[in-house]
Every structure is written in C-alpha cells, then in structure tokens.
C-alpha cells in the first residue's frame, strides 16, 4: 500500500453550512473504495467562503486546494489524480498563492485554516505557545510596554488601546482581578471571532493567558453567544486541551454562553450577565478596569484583540506598529458579507479603501447588479454610498464621515435595496434589543419605527423627516450606551445619502 495521503476539509461553520461534513464522508468512502490510505484533517477556514467547502490535499510541492467541492465532484477529483495535485476544474492551486490570500497580511489569522484547531502538535509546530513564553521571559512590565508600542486597539468596536486598559487593571489595587473575553459578536456582517474560535481557539486562549500573566488575574471567562454552537463545541475541547497541556496553569478559563441578547455585547451589560443578572448597561464610571466583574478590576477584550497578542509578542511590536494608517495601527480582520461575490475574511493593514475591498477584492455583488450601498460596522454603523468608497479603513477616517469601523464587517447591498426599509430596520433592531434603561432608547426607537412607517406610507414626509432627525438627536444625546447613541448613524446616513428613497409616491 502506498503512503497515507493527508486531506484537509474545513469544519468551520460556513463550510459545514455548505455541506463539508457530507463531503468529508464521501472522500473517505471513495478513498476506501480505491483502497487508498487517507487521513482527513478537519481545519478551520482560510476565509475564502465562496470556495467552501475548500478541500486541500498535501502534495510533494505543498498543499493544493480544490473548491467548492460538492458531493458530485468527489469521484472526478480522484479520477483526475488530485492526491498528486493534478489539474481539475475546481483546482485553485496553492491556497496561499491565490490572489485573495496573497494580498493579505495575516497576524491574527496566521494559523486559521492551516492547522487542526484541536491539535496541540499543530499549534506548537506553528509557533503556538511562544507568545506566552516570550511574555514570561520579558516580564509583565516589558510585555505591557511591547503591547503599548504595537498600537493594538480593541477590535470589538470602540478601538480603545489594549495596553492602556491592561495597565489600568494591573495598577488597580485588588486581591482578585479578572480577564473576560467578549465573544458575543452580535454585529450582522461579522464572523471573524467565530472563525478564529473555530479555526485557532488556542490563539485566543494563549492571548488570555498572557493577559492574566500581565495583569495578575487568575481567572478568566469567555462569554460567547448562543448562536455559535460550533464555536462553543470547539472551545470546550480547546479549553480541555489547553488545561492538560498547562496553558491554563496560572489562569483558568471558564466558558459562559449568552442567551440571545445583542446588548450583552456591551461590556458592562456582559458583566451583569456573567453575574447572573439581566443584561442592563451600567453607568460609567466606574470603568470595568477599576471595578468590573463582581466589583473587581477586569480586562474586557474582544476575541481578536486577545488572539492578536501572541503574534505581536513573537513577531515584534515594532513590525505590527509599522503597519496601518494614521492612529489605526497593525492589521484588521475585515469581513466581506452580504451581497458580495467573493465573501469571507480578509486581514489587511488599516488604510485599505472601501473601493478596493468591495470592488477588487470582493468582486462586486453576488447578484451581478451594481453595488448601491455598504453598511460598515454592524447594525449601528452608517450606510455609505459609492461616493464615499474612497474612505480608508481607519477609525478616525470613518468617524470623520459619520461612520464606524466597528468590528470590521462590511455588508454589501445591490441596487434593489430600499434604504427607507433599512432605516426602519435599524430602529426596529434598537427597539428589540434595548436594555430598557434609557427612555430615548426604549421609547424613542419604537417612535422612530412609527415615524419611518409614516414616511414609507408617504404621509407628511417632510415633517416626519424633521421629526426623525429630532428623534435621532435625542437618542444620540440621551443614551447611556452606543445602542441608542449610535442608531442615528444608520438611520441618518440612509436619509442623507439616499434621500430619493424617502420620497415616496
């Protein structure tokens, strides 16, 4: 019998939702029928989601990808000799040489899609564990200095410098400190946290261990949304693996599952939820860094923020800081979503323009119709028309145009979109998800829906538009958190950039 062939089939949710499990079974069956010895390795996704399931085979000249592989393709792939990397209509060559990959600069997603996420050997062979070792060698102070030098800002949306937050927690007097990972990823158009947790969960765990070491925390929590069943399963196993391999020796981590509340992604609502309460936003001060979980100093960081720390320590803070644009340093895992031809995950230095991302990298719409609008930064992000596609991905540049980078999700809409409906949805979403603490958010959003409904019906459009502006003004000023405070972004950007959609016949 000849050598054992290694075949990589993603088990990322996007691949699974496109039939990857059945494809893996079909490959194993066909190999058995041909009396070939194969080992099927389940990986995360490379991020080229339009090619999923993207199956890779290990050949003498490296890994060769084939995708999207359907059940009906399996026999022909074997016939063509794919195990030797042979030509086939679905062959994309070496995945890392594919233009979508070759244009990226991966720090956070270095291992994702390459390794078996639950193999300690793979993790170590690809540099896993070196970040924590480096932190221990440097000591807490020098590690903190490196993190600050890297310029890494929180990837959950607000963009607060990670190193400053860690330093605050480290310097706050307390007997107990906590590390909390925000894995609530509620924004539509975002899935980078999910991909990382499914494809390289040990990177996140290592990042949390480093955080625990630096700030002096002995306990961590990952708060993950219930809508991510696959990520939950992978994380449970990864935590077990990390525990047996000593990665959690100094700071154990517990996985907690949310219960379908968007506002629980807001850090103080998340802490309330972790404490077993309703997810209501807390007034600040105190900052969680001073008095967070159970009143103790707490680092709350997004999945990507934490998972990027090990590679910054291994590859060098200066190298990370050298990338980027303005005050947005390093790379951003950008998520291309909605009506887009080449959807998926694209990690690149800040500064890349919307036009490049949507037209060149994303290939325009999936429907083939013209792109009309993009929403960047989740349900509280602004809708941008083509005229703003020269905006570089940069926190400050987006803010200057009344927009948000947020968690880096870009949702593309074609010319069939009705922007007044999108404005209505923003208000509806705010009403559904409001934690109820502030009257403008709780009541104003319902009122906003009613006003937009009148506009849709063509009733007193001019005065209702004025009323809508007023409401947005009240929401912006009278809200405790960004749910009520930012919902004016999608609503008013729709009015401003697409006024014709608000003039009903």
């Amino acid at each position: 019998m000849s050598r054992t062939h290694r075949i990589f089939v993603p088990a990322d949710s996007a691949a699974l939702a496109l039939g990857a499990d059945a494809v893996a079974v079909a490959i194993a069956d066909e190999a058995a029928r041909r009396q070939l010895s194969v080992q099927i390795v389940r990986t995360g996704s490379r991020g080229m989601h339009w090619l999923e399931p993207l199956v890779e085979v290990e050949t003498a000249s490296g890994r060769i990808g084939y995708g999207p592989v359907g059940l009906a393709d399996v026999v022909s792939l074997f016939e063509a000799g794919w195990l030797e990397g042979a030509a086939h209509a679905l062959c994309i060559g070496a995945p890392e040489a594919h233009p979508f990959m070759a244009r990226q600069t991966r720090w956070t997603f270095e291992r994702c899609g390459v390794v078996d996420p639950l193999s300690w050997e793979d993790f170590v062979a690809h540099g896993g564990g070196q970040g924590l070792a480096q932190a221990r060698a440097l000591g807490a102070e020098a590690t903190l200095a490196a993190l600050i030098e890297s310029g890494l800002r929180g990837r959950g949306g607000a963009g607060f410098p990670a190193g400053i937050k860690w330093r605050t927690v480290r310097e706050t007097q307390a007997n107990i400190r906590y590390v909390v990972c925000n894995a609530d990823e509620g924004d539509s158009g975002t899935f980078a946290d999910r991909m990382l947790m499914e494809g390289d969960p040990l990177a996140l765990i290592e990042g949390m261990a480093i955080c625990g070491f630096v700030v002096g925390a002995r306990k961590g929590f990952i708060y993950i949304r219930s809508e991510y069943p696959r990520a939950i399963r992978v994380l449970e196993q990864a935590l077990e693996l990390a525990r047996t391999r000593g990665l959690l020796a100094d700071c154990d981590i517990e996985l907690r599952i949310g219960a379908g509340s968007y506002v629980c992604g807001e850090e103080t609502a998340l802490l309330e939820s972790l404490e077993g309460k309703r997810g209501q936003v807390r007034a600040k001060p105190p900052l969680p860094a001073h008095a967070g979980l159970f009143g103790k100093p707490t680092v709350v960081n997004n999945v990507l923020t934490l998972a990027t720390v090990p590679s910054i320590l291994v590859r060098g803070a200066a190298g990370y800081a050298a990338l980027g644009h303005g005050r947005s340093r390093g790379t951003m895992p950008i998520q291309l979503a909605g009506n887009i031809r080449h959807g998926g995950l694209f990690e690149a230095p800040f500064g890349i323009s919307l036009a490049e991302l949507v037209d060149e990298i994303g290939g325009g719409t999936a429907s083939g119709r013209p792109v009309r609008a993009v929403q960047v930064g989740g349900p509280l992000g602004a809708y941008f028309p083509r005229a703003l596609f020269d905006t570089p991905l940069d926190y400050e540049a987006f803010a200057a145009r009344d927009g948000l980078v947020g968690h880096g999700g870009i949702v593309v809409f074609d010319d069939t979109v009705d922007m007044v409906r999108q404005a209505r949805f923003a208000m509806e979403f705010c009403a559904t998800e409001s934690c109820g603490k502030c009257t403008p958010c709780r009541v104003g959003s319902v009122r906003g829906m009613e006003v937009v409904d009148k506009i849709i019906a063509g009733r007193d459009v001019a005065s209702n538009l004025a009323l809508l502006e007023d409401l947005c003004h009240t929401l912006r000023l009278g809200s405790l958190c960004a749910l009520g405070g930012f919902v004016p972004f999608p609503v008013l950007s729709a009015v401003r950039h697409f006024p014709q959609d608000f003039q009903r016949p």
Partner: protein, 153 residues
C-alpha cells in the same frame, strides 16, 4: 418533557457552585425541558437564594428563554442585514407561507417552530438558517425543506 422537580433539582445542583450561576442554571434547565415553566421560576429562586421577581426578570430579559414549549424542530431564520441583502425577507415570507405559521409560531402538526435570529455568523454565505442542529448557508426554501425532512418533519 414535563416539569420534574427532582430532575430540575439535580440540574440546579450541578451548576449552583458557579459564580453568577443563574444563566447557566436556566440554560441547562431549558435544554432539558425545552422551556421554562412557572415552576422553574420558584424552584430556581429558592435554590439560588434569589427573589422570584429577580429570576422572572432574568428569564424575561433574554430572547433565548421560552415560557412555553415549541415544536419538535426549531427553524431559525436570520433576519439581520447581511441576510437581508441576499433576500432573507422574501425567504422568511415564503417559509412562513409554506409552513402556515408566523414568527414564533408552530405548525399545526406541532413539528416546526419558526424563530427569528439576528446573525449566525454566516453573513458571507447568506441567507443563513439553523434547522435543528444543522446550519444552512445560501438558504432557499427547497434546502430548508430538505433539512426539515432530515429532522423527521
């Protein structure tokens, strides 16, 4: 499953040692019984030393917690923006018509409950759905129907 005080006590005991145990306890109870009946409020409150009002407040805050049983299979359709951009609204209308029910409603044969969800993290392969335990990308009615059939619709 009908409420069972002893079984519930066992589940509560398995989670009560956790810091901030309320959510994990409620989650585990709902997983076992399918929903959280009135009795759950009182029993959890007593066991965790909370008032009934507090437990009720928690249950009513979170969209995941249900006060009544649902159909055998839950069909969750994503209603969020990336899926809207790929026709999620039309798909939802079609599914509702085909099933003869509305959001949060259950088919007359008690087999399928139609539930909204706001993002499944499949925004690059939209529209997305979760049929029982199966994720479905680029969903259309035939694919949803096939997934429902697998759940023994």
């Amino acid at each position: 499953m009908a409420w069972d005080v002893l079984k519930a006590a066992e589940i509560i005991d398995a989670h009560r040692h956790l810091d901030g145990a309320t959510l994990p306890v409620l989650r585990a109870l709902q997983e076992a019984f399918g929903y959280l009946p009135e009795e759950a409020t009182a029993q959890v409150a007593d066991a965790l030393n909370l008032s009934r009002a507090e437990v009720h407040g928690v249950i009513s805050f979170y969209h995941d917690f249900r006060r009544a049983p649902i159909g055998r299979t839950s069909l969750k359709l994503c209603r969020a923006e990336a899926c809207q951009a790929m026709g999620a609204d039309a798909l939802a209308s079609e599914a509702a018509a085909k099933l003869g029910t509305t959001w949060h409603g259950t088919t007359t044969d008690g087999r399928v409950t139609l539930e909204p969800v706001f993002c499944l993290g499949l925004c690059s392969v939209a529209p997305a759905a979760l049929v029982g335990d199966e994720l479905v990308a680029r969903a259309d009615w035939p694919r949803l129907a096939a997934a429902l059939d697998k759940c023994g619709r």
